[in-house]
Subunit: 365 residues, 2 copies
């Protein structure tokens, strides 16, 4: 059992940087989510973060985050209460209070979803998530693996629409129907899903990832202040990480389609070139046609000077970036997980050749 | 209070014809729905139809029918239990039994939805519906008018997906989100919506329309057997109806798009030509550019020889048809209703010039 903590404004700023790096380009813009939490903190909210083991086994907990293309999330700002309303809707459906919330994905703005809910409603945020990074589709969450049901869940939009996912053959169907509903709702909405017991959360959660995001962000911000290497700062927290490339964005192809931001980019630097494909998140990096890193390992773009994460919706020509490669958490390298988050799940006919080590090696409780 | 009745195979055949005529081209293929009910009757089911006034004021009742394009409904046959499962889902959500079901629209195959549910689950079918005909969109139901909420409701598909509509700003939003979910589900699904009290049903239902469909169908089948005019037979039941046109289908433009079958057709006969637009249902009939009949009045195509209804998904070149014009039920001619079912609601810049009389003039209790 660890001591609960109460994120302050500095923690929030650090989480924005760390979750942006772990977001591998997706997960929603972390800066907007950070501003929302900061505003709640300034009004006196005191959200509490607790460890997975502090959630009672028979308590109800749900995943929480946004569904939709990050490009839409930036242009169409949420009202602010959607995450909490989605949890309220799911609790009303369940007929029982939901006192605990965990991020569906720690990557990007979705890291803040449980903190915002905790700040607004007094629920507690759990220091864990279902991806250890960000992924574009629902079935890619460990919350849905190992026989865990994808339903029930609630989708709540800024207009006040709310639908409950009552039954589904599997998580892919919830992804498909939920994505279509999200597009009809205007392109983004808040998703509280799945509803779990504390016992189930212990089986499926990737632990301490909110703490990890904060630690990565703190290290980057501190190094930036000292004019030290922000890249080395990340590797101080994730010692198995490595620097893959440094260079300039020379080409970006991006379109927002079917509720996703899809595309590719090309980097050049030091006489080399790196090409990266993305679907909300950076999926695969190739050099001279050869795969250097691919999902579920993390491909993280950061601004070369500041270490600030570069998400797929702000990519543009001329940005100077460093590309970090971080090995995936152990939970994503199991055969069951690779079937849904490995390169073939994204249509790439390559085998997953994992980077050595793992994201949370020095962070396991 | 009227005596409850138990539809037999003859009633079912009559309802298929009558609901097909009232469907004004849409509402789902009535013959497929008829076959499903006939099979249940042959296995010993004894569905009961009761009057609106026989539903206790505090009992729960819901609308029931299919959502999606009729063109899809013909090619992708439902499993058969979807309607009952949708009602089960809604009852589970409500935490109370739903013992009564009413057709969302009496037109087309949807007339059979409450009978199939009654045959499968022992619930009672109410002799009423929300349209007195068929319309392409949800907000066009009297169940949603006069301040009646569109939610909650349940959408259940043949794969076993089920979503609950928990909250919505209005019925148009449920239509929009539900239509997108239906398309993601493969193009058709069963919709149990809205959940109402018996007291609310008394306010908003169009009454005795299942009896009306049976009476129209019986009259047509009897006339057909006697080689008498099937058109005159319809007018025996709906004395305010009239024969608008007789002729041959010489052109059909139809596409299945966005969950609808949309298009237009041209008829020629006796030196005249009639043009009709449709969106699942026949909406507007013009002769020489002049509007002859338009929504909410009913434009009904029947085969010239047999009086069998011709739905928009079976339209083809060369069919010889009679076009009947039946005045809409009173409930659809109120200003509040015309705002959602009048010609302007479908994008036609014309005023509604009602046919004299009304559909149910001789059928009001």
């Amino acid at each position: 059992m660890t001591t609960p903590w109460h994120p302050d404004e500095d923690d929030a700023r650090a989480i924005a940087v760390g979750s942006g790096i772990l977001g591998t380009g997706g997960g929603g813009n972390p800066y907007l989510a950070y501003l929302r939490l900061r505003e709640l903190l300034r009004r006196g909210a005191r959200p509490q973060v607790i460890d997975v083991d502090d959630v009672p086994e028979d308590a109800l907990v749900c995943g929480i985050g946004g569904m939709g293309a990050p490009t839409v999330g930036v242009e169409r700002i949420a009202q602010g209460w959607e995450h909490s309303r989605a949890v309220d809707d799911l609790a009303a459906y369940a007929g029982s209070p939901i006192d605990y919330v965990a991020s569906g994905e720690i990557g990007g703005g979705n890291a803040f979803a449980p903190l915002i809910v905790a700040a607004q409603s007094g629920r507690r945020a759990v220091d864990a998530d279902g991806m250890g990074r960000a992924f574009p589709e629902l079935q890619m969450s460990t919350f849905m693996m190992g026989g865990g049901p994808a339903v029930p869940g609630a989708l709540h939009d800024p207009h006040g629409n709310s639908v409950i996912f009552h039954a589904a053959p599997d998580a892919r169907w919830v992804e498909r129907v939920g994505r279509a509903a999200t597009v009809a709702m205007g392109g983004n909405a808040s998703l509280a899903l799945p509803l779990m017991s504390g016992a189930r959360l212990r089986q499926c959660a990737i632990r301490r990832t909110l703490s990890l995001a904060r630690a990565i962000g703190s290290a980057v911000l501190e190094a930036r202040a000292r004019h030290a290497s922000t890249t080395e700062a990340v590797f101080g927290v994730v010692p198995d990480g490595r620097l893959l490339f440094e260079g300039k964005v020379v080409d970006v192809l991006r379109r927002t389609t079917g509720g996703f931001a899809r595309g590719s980019l090309r980097l050049e630097g030091g006489g080399r070139a790196l090409e990266i494909d993305f679907q909300n998140e950076y999926l695969i990096a190739r050099e001279g046609g050869e795969v250097r890193v691919c999902v579920p390992d993390l491909i993280c773009l950061v601004a070369q000077d500041t270490g600030e994460p570069v998400t797929t919706e702000v990519l543009r020509y001329g940005l100077r970036v460093a590309v970090l490669a971080l090995p995936a958490p152990l939970e994503l390298k199991r055969p069951e997980a690779l079937a849904v988050v490995g390169p073939r799940a994204f249509g790439y006919e390559v085998d997953f050749a994992p980077l050595p080590g793992e994201l949370l090696r020095t962070w396991r409780p």
